[in-house]
Symmetry: C2
Subunit: 320 residues, 2 copies
């Protein structure tokens, strides 16, 4: 009689969620206290034993989602957020809902690419466990910069994903930007680097936020000491509106001729577009310009976005 914790949790979950019994009744059946059952159920929920999913049938989806879906051809999840919340709280809500939306999409044998950043960091803190086999979490772009190696920050994010899905973690130990494009070319031939690049080539899910050059709330990349004065000037003169995984683009989604990209370590847009599921998480109205560009570049197949930003996405929607 394996009266193990795990199998008790399973029984409890079945009785609670599938048979509508009360915790009290389950406690009697399991010969334990009601509080223990309450705890069993919590653990069942956050070990991913119980999966709660919200599926809004496409034809009854709210107007807003329908509009965005049509205009940008992306599978959109609008996160309802009280607009009195401040940026940090809103980000937290979006991140929590993103984490739970991503869960069901991850499967065994997945290769999951992660572009670290403030948004994805928040997501990583809300992941619910889901056991998979032979999955790999691979870092999409380097994290080193001129002051620090930035490694602990990025690797914390990676580790959380790895733990949540029981996946192997592959770090990408290079700087975010090389100083010289030639160094990148050289490194890209190293076998240690190739291993990571090969994984990126084969990834089945990519998860990323967007950076936006919007001045009021510059994202990590623009403020964190990754770029110097000259770089920033270069960006401004190329009409860059934002980036995904440190690869920059313009408002129309194009990225040709942006020389900085030759020194950045993230996957090119061509490469990214090869990935089947490309999940973009965005919170905060200041990201609107970057987001528009990313969508124009067709970098995402699914978009998880807060309600206010979603509204602005369609408001002056007819592109010039």
């Amino acid at each position: 009689m394996p009266r193990s914790r795990h199998s008790d949790a399973l029984r409890a979950a079945q009785m609670y969620y599938l048979q509508d019994l009360t915790m009290d009744a389950i406690a009697r059946e399991l010969r334990t206290s009601r509080s223990t059952v309450s705890r069993l159920l919590s653990s069942a929920r956050d070990t991913g034993l119980v999966q709660i999913q919200i599926r809004s049938p496409l034809d009854t989806a709210p107007e807003l989602e329908r509009l965005i879906r049509e205009q940008y051809d992306v599978d959109v999840h609008v996160v309802p957020v009280l607009d009195t919340l401040n940026e940090a709280e809103a980000l937290d809500r979006v991140a929590m809902q993103a984490a739970r939306t991503i869960g069901p999409l991850v499967d065994s044998n997945a290769i999951i690419g992660i572009a670290w950043g403030a948004t994805i960091s928040a997501v990583s803190r809300h992941l619910t466990r889901k056991i998979t086999h032979d999955s790999v979490v691979v870092q999409l772009n380097g994290a080193g910069n001129m002051q620090t190696t930035g490694i602990t920050y990025a690797s914390d994010i990676m580790r959380r994903f790895g733990i949540a899905y029981g996946a192997r973690v592959e770090q990408f130990p290079v700087p975010a930007f090389f100083d010289h494009a030639s160094t990148k070319t050289a490194m890209w031939k190293e076998r240690s680097v190739r291993r990571v690049l090969d994984l990126q080539d084969r990834m089945s899910i990519a998860i990323f936020g967007v950076g936006s050059v919007d001045s009021s709330y510059p994202s990590h990349v623009y403020a964190g000491g990754y770029l110097d004065e000259d770089d920033l000037k270069l960006l401004a003169s190329s009409d860059v509106v934002g980036d995904v995984a440190t690869v920059f683009f313009r408002a129309d989604g194009s990225s040709d001729g942006i020389t900085l990209n030759e020194r950045s370590t993230g996957p090119s847009h061509e490469q990214l577009r090869e990935v089947r599921r490309r999940i973009c998480v965005v919170s905060g109205a200041s990201k609107i310009d970057g987001l528009r560009g990313a969508l124009a570049a067709r970098l995402a197949t699914e978009l998880i976005v807060d309600e206010a930003t979603a509204r602005r996405l369609v408001s002056y929607g007819d592109s010039a």
Copy 2:
């Protein structure tokens, strides 16, 4: 601003299940009372907007499930049921869990075959709504008998399935058994009947219980006036142990040479085995013999069964 009931339910569900807000907080956001939110969430649950699923990773599945899976090669869901419950209460629990397990398996464009009976009737009463498109629910075997047409009973079951999945319902207006095999042959050429048979040929999901000849608790078919004295004698002399959708089989799963099957209206076992998902629901230890036969005949790909019966399935498991 479509402040419709449905979209409110969606917002509430997202905030409750995906962002862990309390109903109180959601009520303020939606400018309504907490009780309304409670009701919105109920309706979200039973219109299938919120899907709760329990996925026990195969390798951590309890011993019992693993054993059955290996021995009978069937995807098994053991329903924990307190063994002090009476037959009717246990059936209800199994039915509820079956209904919720089936839900996620039904998809748009499905053709769902239903074999009416006491077990499936109970299941039909616990279905949760899930909107699909262009699905059809088709009756697998006739319901008429010598006393009544049996139609209301069977059609209630069918209707409930149809409503739950937003599917068209196709009745099968023939008796459960013909008196003469030749009548069946004739009827099977009628175009009205052919239409139903064609649907059955193309079904993607079949849902059925099992009948068992066990004397202590004879199932509907054996007691309901569908068969006369001679028929029952015939069954006994052919070593029949049970039936699925009024087609009979022996303990080893074989059904050749059982003449009654030539007059019955359910799909042949060959035909049934062509169906991708074949879901068998069983409650009650008296069904054990029929169940063994059905599994031997490989009629089911998924089995939903109460714990006590599941145990007996493996107890003297080494087949003679």
